[in-house]
Amino acid sequence: MRLESRHWVFLGLFLVILLSMLLQIDLGVKVSQDTQRMHDYIENLPPGSVLMLSFDHEASSLPEIRPLALAVLRHAFANGHKLIGVALLAEGTGIGYRLMEQVGKEYGKVYGEDYAFLGFKPQYIAAMLSMGESIRQTFPEDYLGRPYDDLPMLAGITNYEQVDGVISIADGSLTTHWVEYAGNQYGVRVSAAVAAAMVTTYDPYLASGQMHAMIGGLRGAAEYEQLIHRGGSGLRGMLAQTAAHVYVILMIIAGNVVYFLNRKKGRKR
């Protein structure tokens, strides 16, 4: 196989990330306004508030989504909020349940009383709309097969009116539908913890107030971990992310140097 320039670019990036992951250096981050807002939102909710966490992601984005979800879950449990978990993408189901169970144990929370995981519902727009009418009808049973009415924390929760906020943990555009259907149509407060690539997609919604708060990417997770004084893979991953960014910057500079040199040569000819 003949190696082309792109193969060298790939190899370089691989080595840069590998080396930076082997080094254990805590870089620390400055907290952005967006992350601070998300933190303040959860912090200022009265204890016992009901939050719905929707695991709207696939398995592929787990390295980025996991630290975000863990940070939000830890903060919510530490503040004594009641959490309802749902998954609107099939692959978020097992992951969502595991994460809620893990953090629930860390904070001594009881399943069914402090948190519940309702599982997966296909056709996300239909699921969002139908939860606006009746959560019980949408999820007659939880993920573990228990009837909705057997879970004490769900008593009195009929639809979004009894939910203080929805936090969509997403790697794609599903959060847009939460804003458009659950937020705009039923008036529930929608926030998000999203993969870095999606941050700019949601900026207009955040600025218009249609979305209440948002944290994004590994950097968002690292900032949140710093705010709740609980280090995790967000802060640990910052060195690798920084190294990868520096590498891409160098690649852009190298690409431009090659381009201008070639242009100069072309002119001389």
């Binding site: 792109r6 696939e58 592929s60 692959e91 794609g172 555009s173 690539a197 700019t200 997609t201």
Partner: protein
Amino acid sequence: MPLLVLVNIIATGTPWFDTGKLPILIAAIIAIGIVLIATYHRRSRERFQLRKIAGLEAVEEAIGRATEMARPLLYTPGWGGDIQRPTTIASMNILSHVAARAARYDCQLVYPTHDPVIMSVAQEVVKESYVQEGLADRFNEDNIRYVSSSQFGYAAAVEGLITRLEPASIFLLGTFEAESLIMAETGNFVGAIQIAGTDSTIQLSFFIVACDYTLIGEELFAASGYLSGDQSILASVRAQDMMKLIIMVLLLIAVIWASFAPDSTWWRF
């Protein structure tokens, strides 16, 4: 029926119309009215023409290239859409045109998708195009195939197809998410001419870097009128521009008003 309506109102005491949604209803009626008037009440001799859209002009070139090189065309609608999404329907309109040309020039058209419904509709659309060209025997149902509902399963499948088939031209038209760059870069590696178009604003930036032509948002919706020259469709595109003009005027008024009277709220709804 009127009796049933009356009984319902008396029985529940809830009015049928939600007055909180009045501004949305007015906006919807105005918008739909403009489209209907523009479509049905145009002067019979009036001919509409759209400005040149490079991406759509390049469709013929892309098909011609594949024919000359005796290599296939690959067309995929992205992972983010389903059949009820207008973007998918707009993509089907272009597919119909591409399929007709592919049939005429006896060029293999491969269409991998993540959604079984999109697959069924695409099979019908492509088959109809072949039939209309009088070349139904050239249609191969297996070329329009469902690969995986999982985002990166789909991305991997399309990437594999591109690597193995080495298509001469690739059409990435529809709703794309994070898989966009994986496909566009792989297409670039095999040297395909690439025409992309999406309503996902974040993916547009990836397509602009990696593809030869990119249809930005609304250009995708105008494609059906552009390619077919159908005057009813072109009239509705004109209606779209009229609405844009109204929005621009309203925005301008709101900006001026908000600048001079920041406490006023009439323009917020």
